[in-house]
Symmetry: C2
Subunit: 210 residues, 2 copies
Amino acid sequence: MNLSFDVEEFIKEFENSCNKVQKKTFEKNEVITSYIQKRNQFCILISGNADLVRYDLNGNRTIIDHFTNNDVFGEVFYNVTTNNELLVEAKSKCEVLIYSYQNIHYKCKQNCKFHQKLSEYLPELILDKVTSLNMRVELLTKRSTRDKLLGYFNLLSTRTLSKTFKLPFSLTDLADYLSVDRSAMMRELKLLKEENFIKKNGKMITLLYK
Amino acid sequence: MNLSFDVEEFIKEFENSCNKVQKKTFEKNEVITSYIQKRNQFCILISGNADLVRYDLNGNRTIIDHFTNNDVFGEVFYNVTTNNELLVEAKSKCEVLIYSYQNIHYKCKQNCKFHQKLSEYLPELILDKVTSLNMRVELLTKRSTRDKLLGYFNLLSTRTLSKTFKLPFSLTDLADYLSVDRSAMMRELKLLKEENFIKKNGKMITLLYK
DNA sequence: GTTTTTCTGTTGCAAAAGCAACAAAATAGT
DNA sequence: ACTATTTTGTTGCTTTTGCAACAGAAAAAC
């Protein structure tokens, strides 16, 4: 996230000016929302972190997306075509702004500050989402588990400007995020350590190659 | 694509009103643009079709995205972090509107109609892109070649409202799009035919299951 | 502070996917 | 219309990935 404006400031300042937006709090493991076609919910995660997960017919879980501070989500971003369940699950206590997408255009009152700012910031919020989705596609199209891992590590390294960083996921969740089998991923991690590509201590990873 | 406005109309009407936008034509196989960090190009494909492709260090080609009429692309949508080359290649003769993203905010003149309309339509254009990227992620996270194929066929079937449809790709390109080995994909297609899941005649596919 | 649950690390075996290579068919180029 | 190039369809073999299962470590719940 490198937005040109401060989402927190924006929310603090304006959340009470508009009666069409609501703020809700969710506890860990609660379902924040499920994606259903034709309900145009649009959400901004104010604090905490949450995952968009899919459970398919074989019982596989996939973490489709991982949301942290200031991320936007909701079924406006999704054309729900599959019969799989899509859920947003809170991974920690979460504060969420919930809004109906239509209401962005139909203002609640002439001078609603929230509306004004939201319209102004919206393209950037969505653009940021496109960028992160493109990175996701970039990762998922990598052919091997090794390339996915290294690709993801590179991303975190670039993001933190450091060769050492902490995984934002448990290893179990990381496997679901990279869409690979956990044991196969663990095996690959072991090889990467043995071949001196990385150093690993719990969730702390250090890249050892140039 | 199911936008609430007609992109073609918008472009026809306003493309000459703004001196900061240019229209270019590309022949088949020409490179329309390559993605380079910090150049904020933003493009709309008016006609033809094109692919966003990546060539990785092992020589694997991946079709990251496939663009047709009215699709938007450009490196505004991409945080170029990898050292891989990202190119947009014309698959047929293409007409493209090219614009610098910054210029969306800095209008060329007070009453530039193009600017006005573009600002108005932009969120929807980008939102549409998010939707298609989410579908892409949905496909790519499927665990097996079979699930990817069936997922993609379902998508085309839903889009065309028909059990029978034509693949917009060559089979070679489809493999690169689904990020699987071509021969493995062909093998799976053969099995799907043998097990009566699909009927296939060249690029025409018919789904046989409910 | 003890118990229960989740997460990590590992492995043998089975299944799926990738690689290489080639002939036939289709398409594009001249 | 003929030739060159690309695409399709196929297969044997190798490598990678996934599955199942389990023990120990860590974290969460009580």
